[in-house]
């Protein structure tokens, strides 16, 4: 069977993660994704200096995030300030189903590549545009990165231990989340176009997407005008529910017991059957009232066991528990991820092979696969301008000399 997006062609005017990760997924599923780069706006991943050899200076093909966000794509380079380059870009758009862009709000319009222009070259084009604040509103030109959005959307202050001012992730959560929503939004537009022949313009504000993913938490504020309760690792409807210290350095296991029958299983598994009927803990509501004491009891058991032991013992008894894993744990100590082949070996133009986090779209009938990583700037100029656009070598050479087409 063909791959899910076989026959779909995408062009990207993109940067960082929020735009490019969308193209990465589509390429993984068989779409042909062409990414446009420009020398005067090098992507952050192209400015990578290897921490293991800083004396090498900037290495544009080696960043692991360049792999994560861009493996499998075609790369061309254009100086979009030149009209001839913009013409070329539009000729490629005419052959594409989807445009993905996440430049700063207003930039593509200034370049002559806004939706009204692109519609002229391809009336049914689907254009997706993502930025921090969206394409309208008083602050839409403001500069933001993923973590800024965590703070702005309220996620940082809603999350974490009550005694902390705010809590943030190290993984720029809004970038990943908005890319996934963007992918879904594009697929909806493709479905509509399949049915009606019509394209459209999609605008995504990363701030709005982030509020949407915590929408159910925000409802308490919206309905009652009160700040939602900050829960840390606790739950309003499960106890015990938390993160417990285990034997070893920075070693933890989470446990979530959602009802009384699971509580019974838990008590038997840890060899404390007398806790079952203890009036402080016998019912969920009594456990919720005594969470501090409960957590201390649980930790008195976990603290002398490894996280792995805790997880295995409890899971065998039918209780939800999980080791707090880091990257090394996932790679070397997680039999489930290993059995599922989650980590992917990808061909890399400079490093031979690299191992990357998998793309868990789960399409068992049309499995995805990553194309090559580590492409140079303009790696596929020849393919795109020569083969796709049918330009002659002389034509291409003239445009390279004029600087409209850029090379590495």
């Amino acid at each position: 069977m063909l791959q899910a997006l076989e026959g779909v062609r995408v062009i990207e005017f993109s940067a960082g993660m929020a735009g490019p990760w969308i193209g990465r997924f589509m390429a993984y599923c068989g779409a042909e994704v062409i990414r446009v780069e420009s020398a005067n706006h090098p992507d952050v991943t192209r400015q990578y200096v290897p921490p293991w050899a800083p004396e090498m200076g900037t290495q544009p093909q080696l960043s692991p995030w360049f792999t994560d966000w861009n493996a499998g794509k075609r790369f061309i380079a254009l100086d979009l300030t030149q009209p001839k380059a913009v013409e070329l870009a539009k000729r490629i758009v005419a052959m594409c189903d989807v445009v993905v862009e996440n430049y700063r709000s207003g930039v593509v319009d200034k370049l002559g590549l806004g939706y009204p222009e692109l519609r002229r070259v391809r009336p049914d084009i689907i254009m997706f545009s993502s930025s921090g604040y969206g394409d309208s509103g008083p602050y839409n030109r403001y500069v933001t990165w993923g973590p800024n959005i965590e703070a702005l959307a309220g996620l940082s202050k809603l999350s974490g231990f009550p005694e902390r001012e705010c809590t943030m992730t190290q993984y720029a959560y809004p970038d990943a989340s908005s890319a996934l929503h963007g992918l879904f939004a594009v697929m909806c537009a493709l479905d509509y176009r399949r049915r009606t022949g019509q394209g459209q313009y999609i605008n995504l504000s990363q701030l709005e997407t982030t509020v949407s993913v915590i929408g159910h938490v925000m409802m308490d504020q919206l309905a009652h005008g009160r700040e939602p309760q900050k829960l840390g690792n606790r739950s309003l409807h499960a106890a015990p529910h938390g993160c417990y210290r285990c034997k070893g350095e920075d070693s933890w296991c989470v446990i979530a017991v959602s009802d009384d029958s699971e509580w019974e299983s838990f008590c038997n598994a840890v060899g404390e059957p007398e806790w079952i009927g203890d009036p402080r803990f016998a019912t969920l509501s009594s456990r919720l009232e005594d969470v501090n004491e409960l957590d201390q009891l649980v930790e008195s058991w976990t603290a002398s066991r490894t996280a792995s032991e805790v997880m295995t013992t409890l899971q065998e008894a039918g209780v939800a528990a999980g080791v707090v894993q880091n990257a090394e744990d996932q790679m070397h100590r997680d039999p489930q991820l290993a059995a599922r082949g989650f980590f992917e070996e990808i061909e890399h133009l400079k490093k031979g092979k690299v191992i990357a986090t998998g793309i868990p779209l789960g399409l068992t009938g049309t499995p995805g696969r990553s194309g090559r990583a580590g492409a140079a700037v303009g790696q596929d100029n020849e393919y795109v301008f020569g083969r796709l656009l049918g330009m002659s070598p002389n034509e291409i050479r003239e445009l390279v000399e004029a600087g409209a087409i850029e090379t590495a």
Partner: protein
């Protein structure tokens, strides 16, 4: 609320047999116009009891979680553990595009409702299963909770303060992201199915989707530099400076990734505080040049920000193209002037004739805008519509099904 507009997924029929792992997936599809029929056990879904409730009054139609997660869906009840229930389900599935489920691996199969059975009657059907660990593997039958997926998926290890225990985000984000993956993947499978006539089984593991969402702290980075990413407060390890800084009336968040932005910030610090050292060329260039001076630069920046209010730092900073944003409470986010100007929040009138403000569209389509078609359903609200009108089950038969607890 329900305006006369085209919807992207009009005509797509979805059956949802999902708990918290998949509720948001069904919502994404329904709010884009798909007909999502949520199938609940007779008596209603357990997620109707998730607090907090509207006015703190527990009631199956008042869980704020349920209200938000189930907008635009229709609701029926059905006991799929009984043969009559299974027969009705098979009839519904034979006319559906997508079945979305979050039951333990193999459970639907044990009821005669697995993918191989359903596809016989409907070769184009897509079955999307969301489970904690996936359909295969040694942990496939492990019990999951959102916090468990956040833990094994690597999110907790890298969230919060350096000296604190690992902590999870508000609002079950592992489940929300698994749902988002499931929605995108289902649409890809449907895209292929519309062309080829063949559906497939989509196997979503919440552990894997969490590991994917957190990939910048994952194996790629670790294998490259040998340093295991770990929680380290509010600054991002690769961006210097970055983090939260105190103002007169709250905190702002700052991130610097580009040399030009550092120059702008250094200039502002110098202008305001008279600090000359901040202009030293050793601090210029990419973040890696500033890594060794992180703590020092944090002091310089705090000297600047503590002289102003949050709003002042925010807007003056942005005027200088520096990525400062407020660290907002939920209340501040709900009243954000930009979100208000974009009409992001919308009013929804629901079954109790209540009008509540809801978060709005995560994206804006020019031809087929997101929209809440209807409020979250009450228990079995659409039984008549679905069973009688659409499946042709007679009135007496419907009553008999109710009485015997099939619906």
């Amino acid at each position: 609320m329900a305006a006369q507009r085209e919807s992207a997924l009009k005509g797509r029929r979805v059956l949802e047999l999902a708990d918290e792992k998949g509720a948001y997936c069904g919502k994404l599809l329904a709010d884009m116009g798909a007909d999502v029929v949520k199938i609940e056990p007779p008596g209603g879904d357990p997620t109707r009891h998730v607090p907090p409730f509207w006015h703190d009054e527990p009631h199956p139609d008042r869980s704020l979680f349920f209200l938000y997660m189930n907008t635009s869906k229709r609701g029926v009840t059905l006991d799929i553990t009984r043969p009559e229930g299974q027969a009705l389900f098979r009839r519904l599935a034979s006319a559906a595009d997508l079945v979305l489920e979050t039951l333990p691996p193999g459970y639907l199969g044990s009821l005669g409702l697995g993918y191989e059975t359903l596809r016989e009657a409907n070769p184009g059907l897509v079955l999307t299963s969301i489970t904690g660990f996936g359909q295969t593997g040694p942990h496939k039958h492990f019990k999951c909770a959102d916090i468990v997926a956040s833990a094994v998926g690597g999110a907790m290890y890298v969230t919060g303060e350096e000296d604190d225990p690992p902590v999870t985000l508000a609002g079950s984000q592992a489940y929300v992201m698994a749902s988002t993956f499931a929605a995108a993947s289902s649409m890809m499978a449907l895209y292929r199915s519309s062309i080829s006539g063949e559906g497939q089984h989509v196997d979503i593991s919440v552990e894997e989707t969490t590991a994917s969402v957190t990939h910048i702290c994952g194996v790629g980075k670790w294998l490259d530099d040998g340093i295991i990413p770990r929680r380290s407060g509010t600054g991002l390890f690769a961006s210097v400076p970055s983090g939260t800084y105190p103002c007169k009336d709250g905190m702002v968040y700052l991130m610097i990734n580009r040399p030009l932005h550092w120059k702008a910030l250094a200039g502002w610090i110098n202008e305001t505080t008279g600090n000359e050292e901040v202009l030293n060329p050793i601090f210029e260039g990419p973040s890696s040049n500033r890594q060794a001076y992180r703590d020092l630069l944090d002091v310089y920046i705090s000297d600047l920000t503590c002289q102003f209010s949050v709003d002042e730092v925010y807007h003056e900073g942005q005027r200088r193209h520096i990525a400062f944003t407020p660290v907002n409470t939920a209340s501040a986010a709900a009243q954000d002037p930009h979100l208000a100007a974009r009409n992001y929040f919308i009013e929804v009138t629901d079954l109790g004739e209540r009008s509540l403000r809801y978060p709005g569209a995560p994206y804006r389509h020019s031809e087929t805008p997101w929209d809440i078609q209807r409020p979250a359903p009450s228990v079995g609200q659409h039984n008549g519509e679905v069973y009688r009108t659409e499946l042709g089950v007679g009135g007496d038969d419907l009553r008999a099904l109710e009485e015997s607890g099939i619906i």
